[in-house]
Symmetry: C2
Subunit: 336 residues, 2 copies
């Protein structure tokens, strides 16, 4: 190993996160389920196909415009199931609370989780609460795991991506990351920036109804659109070409990124996904997205290239080319 | 609410833990799965019956005689599935790491998890890693969630307990709690005390093979045998009578309890369970237990009484009677 201690960057969703998984977790836990490295594990039990996913939420601050750690946890889990083609059914909620955490805040968070779960049609069926002494955890961390059932016949997977596939994004990028940064930095900005935290399972179900030929879906959370595309390109060994001018970004998000020196490509989203499908299917997908509250600003942002170098090439607005690699360095810690 | 802030005791597995669940989680998440309040949720999908459980592990110290946070997490999840009659199949592993946590320690923990999972026949199929800055978490916390399939025909549940049922324990109590206290307090004791952390699914499978009339099983973890029995008695509204002299305790555990003023009845176990079954089935269960490495010191420790006051009555070694209630106050924080 190149490091003898955990760095913040090992949790970034970027290069060191991938190294940690590749060097420590995969060799020890080696099994074919884990090795797919998708958002959920795909399991067969009896004659049913399930997906199973887990995520811990350590976001700071706990409350932010557009949600809080509770709604975020539900949406994150629902989306990880949905992009694998799963209909979210059941989830767990594990709380780690700091002694002294206010009851009123906990109640508001739990209420948000309940509302978000109802909104997404998933049931919170099992839970756990641990309390640690002051200073042993920062306020509240939540882990959620989810189970979904897969009824879609196609093989939704990075490995299913084919050269020529259209790359479709369901809306503006960076809203969640920008909302957290604004809440955290106390910038005194007037600009209205709201997290895009949302459940995508309804939208995804509609997409899978109109097309039986979707190849892959991924939600672009930690590490942003840039990290997800770089990971997919590397893992599928396809090139991905995207056009900067086609990527929707809110003006206020662009503004805060300029002030803070952040790249919106690598800012987290919590209600955005990329869809890979044959070009012939793209218009159907775009139509469904634009008709859905969580896809109004959907756009085809590029395509999968022919040559297999596993690179993401961004054609910039002024006509240049930029290679998008897995981010190094922790861009925005504790974003989700 | 009586409190406006979270106290350590809300994580004790005792009275305040139950109040937190009853007053905050159940009203918001209300559904019939969660309301059973067993160790796992029981889910029906298609024609299969599943169990699903989650637990976060915040044990301090992370390494202790008999295991570490990693093996503990696997055993805890396996046991929560197994006592509900589930064959453990798949689990998740979510890590929250503190910046600076040593790679060598993480590797050892992950290795232990892999070994424990192999030993219990469960696969770690999905995971997540978050890293937070120094001071935002104490070293490492792990959440594990597990899925099992239930093939046992009987209804293993607190509600199935009947007056007259034998109460069977599979061995000595308090070993895990005592091992943690010894490791933590740096007492300089020579006494050999090792956590009982172990997977009980193999033993439970054997029990369910020899008897089709087991009524209820629970592992006696946080809060110890005392808290589990008090919770069962209250929830099932049956009295439970137990005999102090029949409860196996290691001499060294008894010794450290005397030194530290702890009651072994309320000390955590990580490889102990209680089984409720008709008296006619008890000898079969005891025979299976005594023939298994995790049940050598098994004993019938009492029975479910006729009157339904929901009390646990301990007949003491000197012939007195003591009511065992849900513990109040945090006895041993961060025990699991």
């Amino acid at each position: 190993m190149k490091y003898d201690k955990i760095l913040l960057e090992h949790g970034s969703g970027g290069l060191l996160s991938n190294e940690l998984v590749a060097n420590i977790f995969l060799p020890h836990f080696s099994n074919s389920f884990l090795e797919r490295l998708e958002d959920s594990a795909i399991l067969s039990i009896g004659n049913h196909k399930f997906c199973f996913t887990t995520d811990s939420y350590v976001v700071s601050p706990v409350f932010f415009p557009g949600g809080n750690i509770g709604s975020l946890a539900v949406h994150g889990t629902v989306n990880d199931l949905a992009v694998c083609g799963g209909k979210p059914l059941y989830m767990s909620a594990g709380y780690i609370l700091e002694e002294g955490f206010p009851f009123a805040a906990l109640t508001e968070i739990v209420q948000s989780m309940a509302d978000a779960a109802r909104g997404a049609g998933i049931k919170i069926v099992t839970g756990d609460t641990k309390v640690v002494s002051r200073g042993a955890v920062d306020g509240i961390f939540i882990n959620t795991s989810g189970i979904g059932i897969i009824e879609y016949e196609g093989d939704l997977s990075i490995k299913s991506i084919k050269p020529g596939d259209a790359v479709i994004l369901n809306g503006t990028i960076g809203d969640h990351g920008a909302a957290i940064m604004k809440a955290r930095e106390n910038l005194g900005l007037e600009a209205d920036i709201v997290s895009d935290s949302a459940p995508l399972n309804g939208l995804i179900a509609e997409i899978l109804k109109v097309s039986t030929d979707i190849h892959c879906m991924r939600d672009a959370t930690r590490g942003g659109l840039g990290a997800i595309l770089a990971e997919i390109a590397k893992s599928a060994n396809v090139d991905i070409n995207i056009n900067e001018q086609d990527i929707p970004i809110c003006e206020n998000v662009r503004g805060i990124c300029e002030i803070l020196g952040l790249d919106p490509l690598f800012l987290a989203n919590e209600g955005k996904m990329v869809v890979f499908c044959p070009p012939a299917e793209a218009s159907k997908v775009i139509t469904v997205m634009k008709g859905h509250e969580f896809g109004r600003n959907a756009a085809v942002i590029g395509n999968a290239g022919e040559s297999g170098q596993g690179r993401v090439v961004l054609k910039t607005s002024i006509g240049g080319e930029r290679i998008i690699d897995l981010p190094t360095g922790e861009l925005v810690p504790r974003i989700c």
